[in-house]
Amino acid sequence: MIVCIAVVGHQSFTEADDALKLHHIVHCSLDVIDERVNNPKKTGSTLNETYLGLLYPTENYKVYGYLTNTKVKFILVTTHLDVRDADVRNFFRRFHSAYVDAVSNPFHVPGKKITSQTFAERVSTIVKSFGLSSAV
């Protein structure tokens, strides 16, 4: 089950159950992403990056990161134990597509929270289908 998805550009937009704890996790993973970005390995300079295994002391969470060309980071926190790499990549691809459409809104101010209803609906569709496909 996906617990939280965060879009971090300059400000963050999160959709979460337990806001404070997840904010903490998201901030830690941001540090890891920065570390990875600043020490690039020559073979690893690709669009997607997966970070597995950030285990929270009391519960098991997996945190995935995705960095776009425009330095916007997507962070996914999930409680799924056996999630496949391909599923996560697929999820991020669809999420990126929804994000681009939301940002192309001429009334959207870059840097502020995304307030589009359509975006929220698309994201919940993507989240639901992620859960179903991994349940096989």
Binding site: N69, S97, V103
Partner: protein, 176 residues
């Protein structure tokens, strides 16, 4: 996904936008009109770069990003690539388009009624005005380039050189 609009609609919208800002909104202050048009271009470039860099791996340096602008980005916008790219390897790039799409349908009206205002150098004034009007139309693409590069993490200043139309050269100076 995505509905499409005919190209002539976009052309007409561009022309009307420049005309509205220059003649109606800021008719007494052409510099302000130019800045507003460039700012609109900045936002458009920002959003377009988000969309067109979706499937691509990240750029390793500034040159890669400029090449992306010259090839893929320009091809998405104008169905052709930039014809010539020059650099001085110190942060200045010149992107030359030999037949810039939004200028191809422009013709300058050389009517003598407008030139009567200054008798002495009317030829020159008409020439200057032609250059001025054309450069108004080029603020928008300058803004697009600046917005796209800023979104890729490269702050810069973009100006345009129109010494021989319909070819135009965009000069990009990266702020170190």
């Amino acid at each position: 996904m995505g509905r499409e609009v005919s190209e002539s609609c976009v052309d007409n919208l561009m022309i009307e936008m420049v005309s509205a800002y220059c003649n109606r909104f800021y008719s007494t202050k052409p510099e302000l009109a130019a800045r507003r048009i460039e700012a609109i271009g900045y936002q458009v470039g920002h959003q377009l770069s988000e969309r067109y860099t979706m499937e691509r791996p990240r750029f390793s340096d500034h040159l890669e990003a400029i090449k992306f602008i010259c090839k893929d980005f320009w091809a998405e916008l104008f169905k052709k690539q930039i014809d010539n790219l020059k650099t001085n390897h110190r942060g200045t790039f010149v992107l030359q388009d030999n037949r810039f799409q939004w200028l191809t349908r422009m013709s300058i009206d050389p009517s003598p009624a407008n030139a009567d205002l200054s008798q002495d150098s009317s030829g020159e004034t008409a020439e200057n005005r032609a250059v001025q009007i054309t450069s108004m139309h080029l603020y928008f693409p300058c803004g697009i380039i600046r917005g796209a590069l800023s979104n890729l993490g490269i702050p810069c200043a973009v100006s345009v050189d129109t010494s021989n139309l319909p070819a135009c050269s965009f000069v990009v100076r990266i702020k170190a």
